[in-house]
């Protein structure tokens, strides 16, 4: 049974099959510590949303077990729902209701006492910057406003765990940054956040730890720094001002590390001692009287991690797997 202060998630051997032999989740194991922001990263169709549906009790697993806040999601669904908040894919809002009406409805359904409903609604709408738009119908909200209202609704009952499924898809950079700030603030307040995303930048910026999922399996897990460190050192790339000097430039850079992939007109080497060699490289180029049009230091990214683990780029995989993302609905299970 649940330990009262356990806000974590434990998943063992989780499997979910759909009709037609589709295995959306294929033996996932993961642990999320209380108060942690866990980034669940993967391309469309990788099994992220199906995992989220299972962990939020909306879909039973075919096999394996999952405990959320110490509660088994299969046997204690109603108890799990009381302690979690969720903002699932797309903004699930009614365009004909106002922001305030959404808050009142959600508060009522969560059993908040009548006097608390208005106050909690006002508090959360202010928190996500929607006070002025509170009495407007949601159909007229921008994408960012809808996402923020969606988040506010997920927080009505002060959940201990929050599931966010692609929370910033389609948002402009400003709205995305505002939502990230809010998620960080919630984490500081002790809320565990399970963040499903296909954006590398988002996982990198927000998550304490990241699990990378592909074809229903976790292919890598760790802090963003650990994952990036595990696949190698940064690389430096230089583009000669005169294309005829490319060979000379390559010879200079070769003193600092082994060759790496570069743009067609450039030269790149991986730096075994890290970015500390950059100043030395600049001096060496200058000493050879070479002029460069561009010089860049590339740190490994989570996309490099995905590439190393799956042989594909995450963004490329997202396009390849778009057709699969029609995450089979519960009905077809």
């Amino acid at each position: 049974m649940a330990e009262k202060n356990d806000n974590g998630i434990e998943v063992e051997g989780l499997v979910r099959d759909f009709k037609g032999g589709v295995r959306a989740v294929d033996g996932i194991d993961l642990r999320v510590a209380p108060g942690e922001i866990y980034g669940f990263l993967g391309p469309n169709g990788a099994g992220k949303s199906t995992t989220s549906l299972i962990l939020t009790t909306l879909l039973p697993p075919t096999a394996g077990s999952a405990r959320v806040a110490g509660l088994d999601v299969v046997h204690h669904g109603p108890e799990v729902r009381r302690v979690i908040g969720a903002s699932l894919q797309d903004s699930a809002l009614d365009p004909f209701l106002t922001g305030s009406e959404h808050m009142r409805l959600q508060s009522s359904l969560h059993g908040l006492a009548k006097p608390q409903r208005e106050a909690r609604g006002r508090e959360l709408l202010a928190q996500v910057g929607l006070t002025e738009a509170a009495e407007r119908k949601v159909g007229g909200y921008s994408g960012g406003m809808k996402r923020r209202l969606d988040l506010a609704l997920a927080l009505v009952h002060r959940p201990r765990l929050l599931f966010l499924d692609e929370p910033t898809t389609g948002l402009d950079p400003q709205s995305r940054a505002a939502l990230w700030d809010e998620v960080r603030r919630l984490s500081v307040d002790g809320v565990t956040v399970f963040l499903t995303t296909q954006y590398l930048e988002e996982a990198d910026a927000l998550a304490n730890r990241v699990g990378i999922i592909d074809h229903g399996r976790i292919v890598a897990e760790g802090t963003p720094a650990e994952l990036k460190a595990a696949i190698g050192r940064p690389s430096v790339e230089a583009v000669p001002h005169d294309p005829g000097e490319r060979e000379r430039l390559a010879a200079v850079l070769a003193r600092f590390g082994e060759s790496a992939a570069a743009a067609s007109n450039g030269v790149a080497v991986r730096l075994p001692r890290g970015a500390g060699d950059l100043a030395e490289i600049v001096r060496a180029i200058d000493a050879e009287s070479l002029q460069v049009a561009d010089l860049r230091l590339h740190s490994p990214t989570l996309d490099d991690v995905f590439l190393a683990k799956t042989g594909r780029s995450l963004e490329g995989a997202a396009e390849d797997d778009d057709a699969d993302e029609a995450a089979p609905e519960p009905l077809s299970a």
């Binding site: 729902r81 519960p330 009905l331």
Partner: protein, 259 residues
């Protein structure tokens, strides 16, 4: 029923009513389509009252019963469409993620439908007054018409919910409209069953439960208090509602698999 259950059903019913009232394109056909058809039929088919055995001299009083059935048909489409849209947008999942009981999810929606059904029945009664229909059963009869109208809308809407839960598609629900609407034409909507002389049509109209709903409403307008017609009308409405709710329960099991 615990207070929290009442609160939850009340909140969902309020939302259901608001959602419909705020969509003019849903309200327009509910009011105007039956009104226009009534006016056309009343002026075009008035001569039918001269047929031997026709029960009244006022075709408007005879035909207004159909408006209540048409209104209930629109309730079916609107309720199904709204629920399907909730499924499509994920709002249904949002509701499923609350401590809401399974039964409350649909009960809230249907209580809202019942309220709207009562409102639209009241509008049709007023419409009847405007176009000269005579409600023989008087004020008490008007109340019975409202109750039967609400019950009929509720029964039909439960089938709209089934379609929405099974397909999860608002377009699919709207595509069902002609299928349901044809039942009105295959009933005693335009003539009393006793005057339907084509054998196959008479048989179909006799087996068509819509005939008994129409005759239930019609009896209050034409005959006053006809116990048999009312019992049959309410029996069909309640029977359809029970069938619809059983089907909703079945469809809900496959749509909502939450643990």
């Amino acid at each position: 029923m615990s207070p929290s259950l009442i609160t939850q059903v009340g909140a969902l019913a309020q939302r259901s009513v608001l959602k419909t009232l705020r969509q003019p394109f849903q309200m327009f056909p509910i009011i105007f389509f039956p009104a226009i058809l009534l006016i056309i039929n009343a002026s075009g088919l008035h001569a039918a009252t001269l047929l031997p055995g026709f029960p009244t001299h006022s075709y408007v009083s005879f035909a207004i019963a159909v408006a209540f059935i048409q209104g209930a048909m629109f309730s079916l489409i609107n309720t199904g469409t709204n629920l399907a849209e909730d499924i499509e947008t994920g709002f249904f999942n949002r509701l499923a993620l609350t401590p809401l009981r399974r039964v409350s999810l649909i009960a809230g929606l249907l209580v809202g439908v019942a309220a709207l059904g009562a409102m639209q029945s009241a509008v049709y009664i007023l419409l009847g007054v405007v176009v000269g229909a005579h409600l023989d059963a008087g004020l008490g009869g008007a109340l019975v018409v409202i109750v039967l109208g609400s019950l009929t809308a509720l029964a039909f809407s439960s089938f709209g919910c089934v379609a929405a839960l099974r397909t999860g598609s608002s377009e699919a629900v709207q595509g069902l409209f002609p299928l349901f609407f044809v039942f009105i034409f295959l009933s005693s909507s335009n003539l009393p069953r006793s005057l339907l002389k084509t054998p196959w049509f008479h048989t179909v109209a006799t087996w068509n439960p819509i005939s008994y709903l129409i005759e239930g409403f019609r009896s209050l307008y034409i005959f006053g208090w006809d116990k048999t017609a009312l019992l049959r009308g309410f029996g069909v409405a309640i029977g359809l509602l029970v069938l619809g709710l059983l089907a909703v329960q079945w469809a809900m099991r496959t749509r909502l698999q939450r643990t």
